[in-house]
């Protein structure tokens, strides 16, 4: 299940956000440190996770620990399902 989530999230990030060096982008890469996602991008990511997985993301959950990498996202989404 988490492999499917990982694949879907990677597709979304790759399709919607520009990466100067896609080969260097790993599941642990920090979106913000690498300048891949800005605050509007975070909003888009939250919106995607909510609609794709039927979740409601609480304000307090909107922190880098949950949203700043593919690994973090997979852990967060899996924990909510």
């Amino acid at each position: 299940m988490s492999d499917e989530i990982r694949k879907r999230l990677r597709e979304f990030v790759a399709k919607n956000f520009y990466m100067a060096d896609p080969d260097a982008f790993t599941d642990a890469t920090s979106f913000l440190d690498q300048g891949i996602i800005d605050s509007t991008g975070v909003l888009e990511l939250v919106s995607f996770v909510e609609s794709e997985y039927g979740l409601t993301v609480a304000d307090d959950d909107m922190v880098p620990a949950n949203f700043d990498s593919i690994d973090a996202l997979v852990t967060f989404v899996s924990s909510k399902q």
Binding site: S47, D60, M62, P64
Partner: protein, 317 residues
């Protein structure tokens, strides 16, 4: 952080800017004076006062460009400034132009994506969570107020957020269009009013208030702008007015809309960030925790990264 202050140098800085205004506007740009949009705020007041000193009061045109969401205080204080400086003014009512462009309806349509009951007689503002309280991402929510006075806060979807901002940006772009109308007919330059905080952090609209021929205070921290205001004899009620955005219909501070901290602390943090001062050292000076300053630093860096697009001129490829 006393380093931010000009102190006794404020008067010399006024003189330097006034000489540079004449050399730049008359010498380089071959324009005869300056157009300044007056909001009754400290920045536009100081720019108008500097221009009046540089070009003479008849060499400055003050523009009032209020619209239906402008506060009564903005309208009143703009007139206080013009009267104090003795400069000629023109009153431009933006509301019909903005309505014709769909500014209000496009904005309200976007708000209804998240608040379906939102009506034309409701009020709103955008707000950010505090950077000091937690690591939460700073994403916008909208506060709406019904005609009965009941307020609700709703987190925005990306589509709603982007359209609200895009529609609201009509206001700044319409003001710039009018400034250039008057500048063209008078052979004047348009004076922009951003201070260093706004210029550095991208607190302006591209091709809106970001567009101008000269930016006389863009190198000055807001604290320094207040010092210039004192040196220029700006009326006390202008100097004591809390900074406001005056863009949305509900009263909105600049901290809840954009910056992490009130301007004096924000100045200190930006100065510290510019000068490589550690979060620990800065936190001691400001009475905040080092982790709070780290968050402010991250917010400064993120905003500066976002501002690159806003500052970029059209790029030839």
């Amino acid at each position: 952080m006393d380093s931010v202050r000009l102190g006794d140098g404020a008067t010399a800085e006024v003189d330097r800017i006034c000489k540079a205004l004449v050399a730049t506007v008359r010498g380089e740009l071959k324009r005869r004076g300056a157009v300044v949009g007056l909001s009754g705020g400290i920045d536009s007041t100081v720019v108008a006062a500097l221009c009046a000193r540089a070009f003479g009061k008849d060499g400055v045109l003050g523009l009032f460009m209020n619209e239906r969401d402008s506060s009564a205080e903005t309208v009143r204080l703009g007139r206080v400034v013009a009267e104090h400086l003795g400069i000629p003014t023109v009153d431009e009512d933006l509301s019909p132009m903005l309505a014709a462009a769909g500014c209000y309806t496009r904005r309200d349509d976007a708000i209804r994506m998240v608040v379906p009951t939102y009506g034309a007689d409701w009020k709103c503002k955008l707000v950010l969570p505090s950077v000091l309280d937690s690591d939460r991402y700073r994403v916008y929510s909208i506060v709406v107020q019904s005609p009965g006075g009941e307020q609700t806060t709703v987190r925005l979807t990306p589509t709603a957020y982007l359209q609200i901002v895009a529609a609201t940006n009509f206001k700044q772009r319409t003001r710039t269009m009018l400034e250039y109308f008057h500048a063209d007919r008078l052979v004047y330059a348009v004076a922009g009013t951003p201070n260093l905080l706004e210029y550095d952090q991208g607190f302006f609209v591209k091709n809106g208030d970001g567009a101008a021929d000269i930016k006389p205070i863009a190198h000055l921290y807001k604290t320094q702008v207040y010092e210039l205001a004192a040196a220029l004899g700006v009326p006390e009620e202008i100097r004591s007015r809390p900074p406001t955005t005056d863009t949305y219909s509900l009263p909105q501070s600049q901290e809840e809309f954009y910056f992490s901290l009130p301007y004096d602390r924000m100045d200190a943090c930006l100065y510290a960030r510019h000068h490589g001062i550690s979060a620990a050292e800065c936190s001691t000076a400001l009475g905040l925790l080092p982790e709070q300053i780290e968050r402010v630093y991250r917010d400064i860096d993120a905003k500066r990264a976002g501002a690159r697009y806003l500052h970029a001129a059209p790029l030839k490829l």
